[in-house]
């Protein structure tokens, strides 16, 4: 396996002097499924945001596919984000649009033909259990359904790596199992997954690598 992601001594300090991450270093191999855990405020979301280039580290470097993120120009950031799927904790869905429109965005951005977009969206909605609901407005969905729309949007263009920030935080145990199964299937198809959660039950019986963050430091590899 080759390396897809590497963090070297990454520190993030928010003003005035809040140290969210403190010298974090680790690497991720292609095809890995890693759980990032720790208590609330440990720095899990900050870490994912830094990898996604939604924020910049105060010091240290993050490498994606061998290239330092600091070398990406503003113009190149959209290209980077197209290679990283992100399941946001707060979904970040377009509220007045349909499920279809939301899931189709990453493909529209690529300038794909309408027919191909339709075909791919319907396939991915089937995978996340939302088949037949494509014309429903996002406003009218439950938390679990929104989470699955978010997941469908994150994986529609087959990114090599998927970041998920508390993807089961709003779900009951049955829906949580369904969503975790989708993640397992995606990983089985070769997608690298970095999943942040504070819920230990998600990874306790799974033979997966676990990174524990506490007060901005990795305490266990």
């Amino acid at each position: 396996m080759s390396e897809i992601l590497r963090l070297e001594n990454v520190t993030k300090i928010y003003k005035p002097n809040i140290r969210a991450l403190n010298g974090v270093s680790f690497s991720v191999q292609k095809g890995e499924f890693i759980f990032l855990t720790g208590p609330s405020g440990a720095g899990k979301s900050t870490l994912l945001n830094l990898i996604f280039r939604a924020e910049r580290p105060t010091s240290g470097e993050i490498y994606f596919d061998g290239r330092p993120l600091s070398s990406y120009s503003k113009r190149e950031i959209p290209l980077l984000r197209r290679q990283i799927g992100f399941v946001f904790q707060d979904f970040k869905l377009l509220p007045h649009r349909t499920i279809f429109e939301n899931v189709a965005i990453p493909l529209e951005v690529l300038g794909m033909a309408e027919g191909e977009i339709r075909r791919r969206v319907l396939i991915v909605l089937e995978q996340v259990g939302l088949a037949g609901k494509e014309q429903q407005l996002v406003d009218q969905l439950s938390g679990g359904e929104k989470q699955r729309v978010c997941l469908a949007r994150a994986v529609i263009n087959h990114p090599p790596i998927l970041l998920a920030d508390e993807p089961t935080g709003n779900l009951d145990s049955k829906r949580t199992e369904e969503v975790m199964e989708i993640f397992e299937n995606l990983n089985a198809q070769g997608t690298t997954i970095l999943l942040a959660t504070h819920d230990e039950s998600l990874f306790i019986d799974r033979q997966r690598r676990i990174l524990v963050l506490d007060e901005g430091r990795i305490i266990n590899l």
């Binding site: 946001f88 377009l94 990453p106 949007r153």
Partner: protein, 290 residues
């Protein structure tokens, strides 16, 4: 085609927002352009009134037709002169009778008693004002003339009035223009603030600034175009109504109100569209998360 589809989809998401902001921009522009129109017409009317002030050259009663022709040609050589009209004594008497209305006042007055007149009008009376005393002096010294008369003091007063109106109107227009620019920019900004979440989300899922901003800029372009066209249409209608109301109020208003020239209209439309585009570009740029 794809861009138009995306622009329409963008409009469909918040039609009230876009219609509302277009109406606000239209209203601001109409107010600004209305005061511009008032300024334009005040200056126009002052010029028209000034044009009625002419130079009267009273001629010797025994002047020959040849002498009148030569003198007319001499006066017309002056580049500021618009035209010279000869009024023979008979016509002077006729005009006086029409003016006095009471025929007994001019009873016994013969046409030969009244001097014939050359009425000199000017292209731009305000420009001619300064050289008028020189021209009048030259004409007065000629043997064919008896007296030269013109309302120099009135011309000066009108000139000052025109300058005063220009100052007041231009200052007002400047303030109103600044306020209009401010309100239009703020309206565009606030309408895009409502779209902030969507702009942020699009930039997070890999959309380029061009992809995100293209439909927003297209909508801003359409907004500017519709707003300026509507404001000009409203103003044009208002101009006709004002023309109807002010008909007969002043003899100088015979020609009616003037409207903006084609260049002024083009500048207004281009300015508004450019303002909407700039406002939309910078407002949406602020919400991009790169």
């Amino acid at each position: 085609m794809k861009l138009l589809k995306r622009t329409f989809a963008e409009f469909k998401v918040a039609p009230g927002l876009y219609v509302g902001s277009t109406l606000v921009i239209t209203l601001c522009l109409t107010i600004f352009a209305f005061f511009g129109l008032i300024y334009l017409n005040l200056i126009h009317f002052t010029k028209e009134v000034a044009k009625e002030l002419v130079l009267n050259v009273y001629l010797n009663p025994n002047i020959t037709e040849e002498q009148v022709k030569k003198l007319s040609e001499y006066i017309q050589k002056d580049p500021l002169v618009a035209g010279v009209r000869f009024i023979p004594s008979e016509e002077v008497l006729k005009e006086l009778k029409e003016l006095f209305e009471d025929p007994t006042l001019l009873e016994g007055v013969k046409a030969s008693f009244l001097p014939p007149v050359l009425v000199v009008s000017f292209k731009d009376p305000f420009k001619a004002g300064e050289s008028l005393p020189i021209l009048a002096g030259t004409l007065e010294r000629r043997p064919e003339t008896e007296k030269v008369q013109y309302a120099h003091s009135w011309l000066l007063r009108l000139k000052r009035l025109k300058r005063f109106l220009e100052l007041i109107s231009l200052s007002g227009l400047f303030l109103l223009g600044t306020a209009t620019i401010f309100i239009v920019a703020l309206t565009v900004h606030f309408s895009l603030s409502e779209r902030r979440e969507e702009i942020e989300i699009l930039s997070l899922v890999g959309a380029t600034p061009g992809f995100i901003q293209a439909p927003l800029l297209t909508l801003a372009f359409i907004e500017g175009l519709i707003a300026s066209a509507s404001a000009l249409f409203l103003l044009f209608t208002l101009k006709f109504y004002l023309e109807y109301l002010s008909r007969g109020l002043l003899p100088s208003l015979k020609e009616g109100w003037v409207f903006f020239s084609q260049i002024e209209i083009a500048i207004l439309i281009i300015g508004v569209v450019a303002l909407c585009l700039t406002g939309s570009y910078w407002a949406s740029r602020r919400f991009l998360r790169y």
